[in-house]
Amino acid sequence: MNTSLINLEMCVIGLGLVLMLADLFVAPERRRFIAYIAILALGFLLAVSFSGNGSCSIAGTAFHGEFINDGLSLFFKRFFLVAAILVLFIAAEFSDRIVAAAEYYSLIIFALAGMLFAASSNDFAMLFVSIELITITFYVLVSFQRGKLTSLEAGVKYLILGALSSAFMIFGIALIWGTTGTLNFTELAAIAPQFVDSKIFLLGVLLLLVGLGFKIAAFPFQIWAPDVYQGAPTPTTAFLAVGSKAAGFVLLLRVLFTAVPAVTVRWSTLLIIISGITILYGNLCALPQRNLKRIFGYSSIAHAGYLLLGIAALNASGQAAILYYLAGYLFTVLAGFLVIALVLRHLETEDIAGLSGLNERSPLLAATMAISMASLAGIPPLAGFFGKFLLLKAVVEAAQIPGNHCYYYLVFVALAGVVISFYYYLGVIRAMYWSREATDLSPIKLSAPAMVTAWICIAGMFWIGIFPNTLLNMANAAVTALKI
């Protein structure tokens, strides 16, 4: 057994424990430095993963095939490390508003560990454990502002719905195990074709999709997203939007395309319908919103729908497009949440009006938010444009196969969603640059790390949008691990 494959995960868990202990020795007013230490440590691990010597670069399986390291897991592990680093930057700016900041940071690290395991799971047991590690940490992270009613409310909502979806998922796993007798994805892929007519087996897969649908906030399991996004502390929301969603997608890719590809090809219509409704639901519900974090909540539902386009297309270019899109989404969404965390920290609500006059208060933050919104809307030359282009291309590619004309309907639904989304994304830009209702025009002082984060996010959005070659090659290499 090759236990050295999980060195990265062990290091991350160790880091989380060290941060908890560090709380005892660091004076309260210096707590934000704990976050910087964590950032440095994760940055080191990220550098190691790019050097090619890290445990995540070694292909192979461990623990009787439960844990797998391949191109897909490598891509997502780097993704999660970058996400955690940027979220910790946001969290460091947030440290004056939460008690026990060090615990908060270490919980982020534990959630990260869960995501790293999720990227490598090749077995339903591993899948469930990593999902639970992520979800349970998030229950705490969501309700971390104990003094704030909305935060507690969000925590309770997330807990109840999360527990429910976990129950569905474990039930589904039980059914799959009961019919096939295996939990391992590789073994299951070999025998699944025999069971494609077994109703119990199909119900098991369906219930499993319910659980994963909850993680990615796809229709009809999206109901929690706006409330939780709104109530949770901003860094938590940011990590939820990026990390938790990406973890859901990597598991979805693994299950659908390596464990039960025989079922997936038969369910293309279901995937098309879910994707289409998710896009429309997210975009339409975002239209009347005034609260920024709720807008992000609904927009994250819409983006889950866009990402599902890549799954519904059932081809390699769709899978690569998902990876590409997620990478762009990472910088885009974190840029948005960084601005929310910095600008709206002294306001009770996160109303759009709070952003008015931001261009005069801090041109850098206004530009960051504007670029983020433009990228979410898919405006060239930003990350979101090329990502959407790849996703649409994958779906149109699927539509070229004779008899697959329903993909054209999906394309038009996606287009409708994109057009609708212009309204609310451009509304945010308008509030920052052209609103006349600005009351507070005091300049915003930015700490050096916050400026660095903003520049990293801006550079990321432009880099992914203007020089897609490197990342696209990485994504194409990563999805060779998948079977369809």
């Binding site: 054209y408 994109v418 309204y423 451009l426 830009i429 640059y433 052209w434 070659n469």
Partner: protein, 522 residues
């Protein structure tokens, strides 16, 4: 670096530069914008003059530059010109310069305005120069988004929000539908590249199946059609232009709108010949909607900008008619009108913007006798109106008459209706507008109006001069367009052979020029 990259690059570079200029340096901001567009216009004129002498590559494109961008998808930055886009790039660069000069009327948030204006100009010039399907779309989209912001922020009148909403909805939907068509085209061609010349080459050898063509062509026709205000998807245009600040209206109506037409001619016609023949009749009937129905609507307008907006929609009908004729003369004429109408639309919206700035209204019954107070602007408006109804001597006449000659062969009934629309309806609303605005008694409240000073005269003079130059010497453009129009038509009728007009012969008027276009149809 190709001169085309520079033509599109200077405005974009200037936009980037403006980001770091402090907003209270107004003169510097203006100077940078005007200078960048001037450089781009001068380079475009140079490119246009050098066109004949420049070496053409194997596919017949000149000033070519190619840089690989995404190898796995076959996307590369590839620019080049042939007869179809050389005039458009020249027109786009001149209109951008004129619009930058007209932007002096913008008083609030100038920095953002100029940045968006430069993005618009650079983006669309790049889109016209692009020979890569992806960049072709990408750069147009890049230029399109600033339009919405400019109308939403600097727009005028009570209907601003509604107009912004409508134009955003229509144009984004149109662009995205066209994108789906382009992606489907890329996948169906089987060439595994976004490079337009390579796709054309590949498709010549192995044509796309008729079934796929009939799915893709309507996507492109209606996607691009929405962008060009093809009837009945035109309703965004008059209102949008009426509300837009005049520099935006100048660039959008003049340049950006031609993108859809250019896309149809450059991409849809050569790559989807079977479907184009099937759909040509649909297009011909829809263009009657543009010419007659919108012409009729234009007659009923009381607001000068709505009138110009509607007449610009009506003019698109002639271009569509030229495309629908599917022969060399018709397509050459369509390309010619695209260039001519670019100058004309920019001129008309620029002039109406000046009048609005002076009077605060464009209601024609409130205006009157303005020619006395504004002799230069009034005369220019008169000339624009005459060019709009197709007076010989202006470039529009050459294009329109060429289209009619081309369409007569294939679509005689529709040509008769279009002629009626072009000559009679256009004449009615244009002359009526001139009478209402420029002649008659001058209301006392307009006694304080001031005519344009030198700097403000320059853009109008430049645009008028361009209309004259191409109206008097159409050969400057037609001899560039013809060989490439013939190439496109060759996919419909392989036997079309085009004889180059004899060198050294002077062509002074349009009909002579057309006679020189000896088309031998064996």
């Amino acid at each position: 670096m190709s001169i085309l990259t520079q033509i599109a690059g200077w405005p974009l570079l200037a936009a980037l530069l403006l980001v770091v200029v402090p907003r209270n340096y107004r003169v510097i901001i203006r100077a940078i914008a005007v200078l960048a567009t001037l450089i781009s216009a001068v380079l475009a004129v140079k490119m246009f003059c050098d066109y004949g002498a420049a070496p053409a590559d194997a596919e017949g494109y000149r000033f070519v530059q190619q840089i690989p961008w995404v190898e796995s998808l076959g996307i590369s930055y590839h620019v080049g010109v042939d007869g179809l886009n050389v005039g458009l790039i020249l027109m786009g660069a001149i209109v951008a310069f004129a619009a930058a000069l007209c932007s002096f009327e913008i008083q609030s948030r100038e920095k953002e305005f100029y940045i968006l204006l430069l993005i618009m100009s650079g983006g669309i010039l790049g889109a016209f120069a692009s020979l890569d399907l992806f960049f072709f779309y990408f750069l147009h989209e890049f230029a399109l988004i600033p339009t919405f912001i400019m109308i939403g922020v600097w727009g005028r009148g009570e209907q601003k929000n509604y107009a912004t909403f409508q134009i955003t909805l229509y144009l984004s939907a149109g662009a995205l539908i066209a994108l789906i068509g382009l992606i489907a085209l890329y996948l169906q061609s089987g060439a595994n590249t976004f490079d337009i010349p390579k796709i054309i080459e590949h498709v010549k050898a192995s044509p796309i199946s008729a079934h796929a063509q009939n799915i893709i062509f309507p996507l492109l026709l209606f996607g691009f059609g929405i962008l060009v205000s093809l009837w009945p998807f035109h309703s965004w245009a008059p209102l949008g232009y009426a509300v837009a600040p005049s520099p935006t209206a100048m660039i959008h109506a003049g340049v950006l709108k031609k993108f859809g037409l250019y896309g149809l001619i450059r991409i849809a016609l050569p790559l989807l010949p079977t479907a184009a023949q099937d759909w040509a009749h649909v297009l011909a009937w829809l263009c009657i909607g543009n010419i007659l129905y919108i012409g009729w609507v234009a007659m009923c307008q009381r607001d000068l900008n709505l009138l110009i907006g509607n007449s610009s929609v009506a003019h698109m009908g002639f271009i569509f008619l030229g495309i629908a004729s599917l022969n060399v003369i018709g397509i050459s004429g369509a390309v010619f009108i695209m260039v001519a109408h670019g100058f004309l639309a920019a001129l008309s919206f620029g002039l109406s913007g000046y009048i609005y700035q002076q009077t605060g209204t464009l209601q024609m019954n409130e205006l009157g006798g303005l020619c006395r107070k504004l002799p230069f602007i009034g005369t220019a408006l008169l000339m624009a109106a005459m060019a709009g109804c197709g007076l010989p001597g202006f470039a529009n006449f050459v294009g329109e008459v060429t289209v009619f000659f081309g369409a007569w062969k294939t679509l005689p009934a529709i040509t008769v209706m279009a002629l009626w629309g072009g000559l009679v309806i256009g004449g009615v609303y244009m002359t009526r507008a001139i009478r209402n605005i420029l002649h008659g008694p001058l209301p006392a409240k307009w006694n304080g109006l001031a005519d344009a000073h030198l700097w403000r005269k320059l853009p109008y003079a430049l645009l008028l001069a361009s209309l004259f130059v191409f109206g008097m010497w159409p050969r400057l453009l037609t001899e560039k367009i013809n060989p490439d129009a013939a190439k496109i038509v060759s996919s419909y009728n392989p036997q079309v052979v085009i004889l180059q007009p004899a060198a050294g012969k002077e062509l002074n008027a349009a009909p002579t020029g057309i006679r020189q276009l000896a088309i031998v149809n064996k």
